[in-house]
Amino acid sequence: MADTAATHAEDPSRRDFIHVAAAAGAAGAVAAIAWPMIDQMEPSSDVLALSSIEYDISKVVLGQEVTVKWQGKPVFVRHRTQKEIDEATAVDHDPAQFNGLRDKQTDASRVKPGKAEWLILVGICTHLGCVPTFGQGDYGGWLCPCHGSQYDTSGRIRKGPAPLNLAVPDYSFLSDTKVKIG
């Protein structure tokens, strides 16, 4: 029986479950296709393989530092002298100095137990991202040439505009001579 176009209008059965189910199914299919399109921008497995590096620290001379590249960023591996360690820990024992720290952290919390001579920090100034220079500044740590932030021998901000201490990355000692960073 021929029908007219009028049948399609305002029929409450249009909102039947089957149409909702079909629409929902189609939306699911679109989401399933869209997910890989979005996920593909995540780091690929060869980039992830470089998300941690191992470094032989026996090459770092006492009193010096080496800069290694990790995840595209500079990381300072500093072999501290006893004098530098003492200067850093002295601040922890002096309440006046410790409370004067902008970003209060003890030196002990920034090194591994029993390995206080090794200071491993992300070499990016917490102000606007420049790489601080080794050994400069009043506190014997680092001086950032861009805007004058000065860090002590524990990498803590002491003077200048930087808000936070130099970041300590995830790292662990695989042996006395090898660290894994990341």
């Binding site: 029986m1 021929a2 029908d3 049948t7 399609h8 059965s13 249009r14 039947d16 089957i18 149409h19 189910a21 079909a22 199914g25 189609a26 699911g28 299919a29 399933a32 497995s45 060869d46 992830l48 393989a49 470089l50 998300s51 941690s52 590096i53 191992e54």
Partner: protein, 280 residues
């Protein structure tokens, strides 16, 4: 004049194309099957490990696998995957395999070219420094990179297996030049080398001599390493290396087909509902 040259070139082109095909022959690949074939295929991890050992002990002295990183060996579905180490670069087996190799690098202090220990992030070490060195060591032939070899040859895994196990003594009357071996499964045209009675033998001259002698590789899991077993396992490894995601692909595909079948059913019902009563 130009027209004559064009016609000549076209005819030559046509006849060359014809000649190359008409005379190139080889035996059909052997009928052998692996666990990864078919829509529900999977890899046998032990087989992949044995296959890797064959590649490492036998093939890697001439054939590179540039597109693989050492960490690939520890990815899910790979030969040395360990669920305790979801990050393949942490996998101790993978680290040990990588550490066996020295790869070229530049000393950051002096700028000199050095050899350093490989890490999982490195690609498989190349046996030769460059193509010329590879050719010089192999009588002018370039051992192909094996990263995608089962996809890069007609007949895929069956073809590779047939080549590796199919070496035969050259039939009397066939002149085999130095540095080449007769293989009936390798495509070629032996008309120029055939001086015997009867039809030209099928097959060709391959630059690689027979490699998979029995017991050349000793398998850690104790499986007997005859020629066929070595070939069977190394081809499985090569198939994994060529297409490492194939099992995941098929498993996802199964779910997708089921979902689409259901969705087709529901949408068809919706369509019939909407069109009910419309004469057409």
């Amino acid at each position: 004049m130009l027209r004559k040259a064009l016609v000549l070139a076209a005819t030559l082109g046509l006849s060359l194309a014809g000649a190359a095909h008409a005379a190139t022959t080889s035996e059909e690949p052997k009928d052998v099957h692996w666990s990864f074939e078919g829509p529900f295929g999977t890899f046998d991890t032990e087989q992949l490990q044995r296959g890797y050992k064959v590649y490492h002990d036998v093939c890697s002295s001439c054939h590179s696998m540039d597109l693989l990183h050492y960490f690939d060996l520890g990815t899910p579905g790979g030969p040395f995957y360990d669920s305790k180490y979801p990050k393949p670069s942490d996998n101790p087996r993978v680290k040990a395999i990588a550490a066996d190799f020295k790869v070229p690098d530049v000393d950051s202090d002096t700028g000199d070219a050095i050899q350093r220990t490989a890490t999982p992030a490195d690609t498989f070490k190349d046996p030769f420094a460059n193509e010329s060195a590879a050719r010089a060591s192999n009588g002018g032939a370039l051992p192909p990179d094996l990263s995608v070899i089962t996809l890069a040859r007609e007949g895929g895994p069956q073809y590779i297996y047939s080549i590796l196990t199919g070496y035969e003594a050259a039939p009397a009357g066939l002149t085999v030049p130095a540095g080449k071996s007769y293989n009936p499964y390798f495509p070629g045209d032996l008309t120029a080398q055939w001086h015997g009675a009867g039809p030209v033998p099928k097959g060709g001259l391959i630059g690689m001599p027979f490699q998979l002698t029995p017991n050349r590789v000793s398998f850690d899991d104790g499986v007997k390493s005859g020629t066929n077993q070595e070939a069977y396992d190394v081809v499985a490894y090569l198939a994994w290396a060529s297409d490492p995601h194939q099992v995941e692909r098929k498993q996802i595909g199964f779910s997708v087909i089921i979902y689409l079948l259901l969705l087709a059913g529901i949408t068809y019902a919706s369509y019939r509902r909407i069109w009910r009563g419309i004469g057409h």
